[in-house]
C-alpha cells in the first residue's frame, strides 16, 4: 500500500488495527458485513446506533460504520440526535464516500448533505481528513482522548499522500496551511484538498499565490487560521464534495461574515441531487475539479478586499 492509490480509509483501517485489540479501548462496530449478497441486508442501522449509544453509556468509546454509508446517518438521524448527541456520548460515526459503487447507483445512494446534517447537531464534531496520514492521526485522537460525539467522513477515492508518514500535527478543531500566499485563500476538505493543491500550482503560474488550508476539522473550526489568512489575501474560495448549503462553505461564510467579510465563492454541488455516472464523470459534471477552483479564484481575486 503506497504511492497514489492510498486514501483516507486506509488511514482509518491502520489506526483501527492498532486500537482494535485493546480490551478496554474503543469498540468498533459495523452495521452489516459487505458480503455483496444484498446491499444493506440485515443492516439495521437504527438499532446499531442505539446499541452504540448503549455501549457508550457504560463509558466505552464506540466507532460505528455501516455498509449503507453515507446514507445511514440520514436513516438514523433521530437516533443520532436523541441517543448520541443529546446525552453527549462518545460515539464516532464513520461514513465512507465510496466512489464507484455509489456513483453507479445514482441519487438514491449519493449523499452530499452529510456535513450539514451533522454540523447542525449541538456538540457534534465533524471531520473530513484529506489523506491516509491525517485520517490515521484523527482516528487515534478520537479513539484515545476525544470526549463526545463525532462524525468523520472518509473516502475510498485515491488521493495519494498529502502528509509525511510521521506527521502528527493534527488536532480536532485544527487546520493545516499547506502553502502560503497573499493572493487568494483556498479552503478545502477531504478529496478536494488534492484538487486545491493542483489549483494552487495553476494559479502560481498566473502570478497569484494561494494560501491553501486543509480544513479537515469542519466543526470545531479553526476560525483564527482562516481569519489570519483572509486578512492577508482579501478573498476566499471554498472547495468541498458536498452541497453548497451547510457544509464547509457554510462554515467559512459564517465565520467570515462575523469576523472579516471578504468576497467568497464555493466549489461544491449546487442545489440538486446526484445521478448515475462514474466518479470521474460526476466530478466533471458537478464541477468538483481544480479547474473550477482556479476559475472561482480568479473571480474573487479580481474583487478582493484591499
Amino acid at each position: 500500500m503506497s504511492g497514489n492509490s492510498v486514501n483516507s480509509f486506509d488511514g482509518y483501517l491502520a489506526a483501527m488495527s492498532t486500537f482494535g485489540d485493546d480490551p478496554s479501548g474503543a469498540v468498533f462496530l459495523n452495521c452489516g458485513a459487505r458480503s455483496g449478497r444484498s446491499r444493506g441486508s440485515a443492516v439495521s442501522e437504527r438499532c446499531m446506533i442505539l446499541k452504540a449509544a448503549g455501549l457508550a453509556l457504560g463509558g466505552r468509546r464506540v466507532f460505528l460504520a455501516s455498509v449503507s454509508d453515507p446514507m445511514f446517518i440520514a436513516r438514523g438521524y433521530e437516533q443520532i440526535r436523541a441517543a448520541v448527541c443529546v446525552p453527549n456520548l462518545k460515539v464516532v460515526l464513520l461514513s465512507v464516500h465510496d466512489g464507484a459503487e455509489l456513483d453507479h447507483y445514482g441519487a438514491a445512494w449519493q449523499m452530499s448533505e452529510d456535513f450539514a446534517l451533522m454540523r447542525i447537531l449541538p456538540g457534534m464534531t465533524v471531520l473530513a481528513p484529506s489523506d491516509r496520514r491525517s485520517a490515521y492521526v484523527l482516528t487515534c485522537l478520537l479513539a484515545s482522548s476525544w470526549e463526545g460525539p463525532a462524525y468523520m467522513r472518509l473516502s475510498h477515492s485515491a488521493t495519494g499522500d498529502i502528509y509525511e508518514g510521521e506527521d502528527s500535527d493534527f488536532g480536532i478543531g485544527g487546520a493545516r496551511l499547506l502553502s502560503e500566499g497573499d493572493g487568494v485563500t483556498i479552503c478545502a476538505c477531504g478529496v478536494m484538498v488534492k484538487e486545491a493543491l493542483a489549483a494552487g500550482e495553476m494559479l502560481a503560474a498566473q502570478g497569484i499565490s494561494a494560501d491553501i488550508i486543509d480544513c479537515y476539522s469542519i466543526k470545531p473550526f479553526a476560525v483564527q487560521t482562516l481569519l489570519a489568512s483572509v486578512r492577508r489575501t482579501g478573498c476566499c474560495v471554498v472547495a468541498e464534495k458536498h452541497s453548497n448549503s451547510g457544509g464547509l462553505f457554510g462554515t467559512v461564510s459564517e465565520c467570515l461574515s462575523c469576523g472579516y467579510p471578504v468576497p467568497t465563492m464555493s466549489v461544491s454541488v449546487d442545489d440538486r441531487f446526484g445521478q448515475s455516472g462514474t466518479e470521474e464523470e460526476l466530478r466533471e459534471y458537478y464541477g468538483l475539479t481544480h479547474r473550477e477552483i482556479v476559475h472561482n479564484a480568479l473571480q474573487v481575486w479580481a474583487i478582493r478586499r484591499r
Binding site: G36, R37, S38, R39, G40, S41, A42, V43, S44, R46, S68, R75, E101, H104, Y105, G106, A107, A108, W109, Q275, S276, G277, T278, E281, L282, Y285
Partner: protein, 258 residues
C-alpha cells in the same frame, strides 16, 4: 395458462435475461445475478398478470408496480423496454451520466410507477399508492416486489402493523427469496397476511398462486416467490456478486443462456 403460453413467456424471459446480462456488461456494473433472479417473476407480471398499457402511460386504471429490490432494477428496465415503454437502445446507456435509466428506480423512466423510497420503504409507498387509487375510485392493483431481507426492516414491520387499516386492500406483496422464504412467511402471517408460495421460475406455479389470491381480497395477500440464486449457474467458481463482468464473461454467460 396453457403450455403454448408458458413457452411464449419462457422465450420472452430468455430475451430479457440476455438483455440484462448485456446491460451489466456495457455498464461495467456488478451484481447481475440479483437482477436475473427476478426476471421470470417480472415477465409473468408484465406479460400475463398485470394490466399494463405501454401506449397509454397515464391511464388511471393501470396496475402499478413498486420495486423495493433496487439493485435488481436492470431486470425491470429490460422488461419495460421489451414491453414497449421505451426503446431498447436506452438499455445500453443504463447508469451512465445523463441516462434515462438510473442505477436505482427513478421517476424519469417511462413505465416506472414509483421511485426507490429507501431500503424497506417500498411497502409503505405501495400502501400510499393504493390509498390514492381508492380515493380516485380506480380499480387498479399495486404490486410491490421486495427482497426477503427487507421484510425485517423497521419501515416494513411498521407498514405491516398498520396494514389492516391503511390502504392495503389492493396491494399484492411479492417477496423474493432464495432461501426458502420461511422467515418472511412467519413474519407476514404474524401480522395477519395470507401467504402463499410460488416457484419464481415456473410460470404455471406463479399463475396458479396469483389467480388464487384474486379470490380472497378481504385479507392482504403476499406471494413468496422462491427464486434460485443464479450466481453459480452462470459464473462457476465465482462467489463474488459485485464484480463487473468482463467482455468474455458476458459472452460466456450469454452462451450458457442460449
Amino acid at each position: 395458462m396453457n403450455e403454448m403460453r408458458r413457452d411464449e413467456l419462457g422465450k420472452e424471459a430468455l430475451e430479457v435475461r440476455k438483455d440484462v446480462v448485456r446491460m451489466f456488461g456495457v455498464a461495467g456494473a456488478g451484481g447481475f445475478p440479483r437482477a436475473l433472479g427476478i426476471v421470470d417473476v417480472l415477465v409473468y407480471l408484465y406479460w400475463e398478470y398485470m394490466r399494463v398499457f405501454p401506449g397509454e402511460r397515464g391511464r388511471p386504471d393501470r396496475d402499478r408496480f413498486v420495486l423495493g429490490k433496487g439493485t435488481a432494477v436492470p431486470a425491470l428496465y429490460a422488461c419495460l423496454a421489451r414491453r414497449g415503454f421505451f426503446g431498447r437502445d436506452e438499455l445500453w446507456n443504463y447508469s451512465r451520466l445523463g441516462a434515462m435509466l438510473q442505477g436505482y428506480p427513478d421517476m424519469r423512466t417511462p413505465g416506472v410507477d414509483a421511485p426507490w423510497g429507501s431500503y424497506g420503504g417500498a411497502l409503505a409507498l405501495a400502501f400510499g399508492i393504493s390509498m390514492f387509487l381508492r380515493m380516485e375510485g380506480a380499480a387498479a392493483r399495486v404490486f410491490c416486489l421486495m427482497d426477503e431481507e427487507e421484510i425485517f426492516r423497521g419501515e416494513t414491520l411498521e407498514s405491516l402493523s398498520i396494514s389492516s387499516s391503511n390502504g392495503s386492500e389492493s396491494v399484492i406483496l411479492i417477496v423474493d427469496s432464495d432461501s426458502g422464504g420461511k422467515r418472511a412467511a412467519r413474519c407476514l402471517e404474524g401480522f395477519g397476511w395470507r401467504v402463499s408460495f410460488a416457484d419464481g421460475h415456473d410460470f404455471f406455479s406463479m399463475d396458479a398462486v396469483f389467480r388464487d389470491s384474486d379470490c380472497a381480497p378481504e385479507t392482504p395477500g403476499a406471494v413468496i416467490t422462491l427464486t434460485a440464486s443464479e450466481n453459480l449457474k452462470y459464473m462457476p467458481g465465482s462467489p463474488e456478486y459485485d464484480v463487473p463482468l468482463s467482455r468474455d464473461e458476458v459472452e460466456s454467460v450469454l452462451s450458457i443462456l442460449k
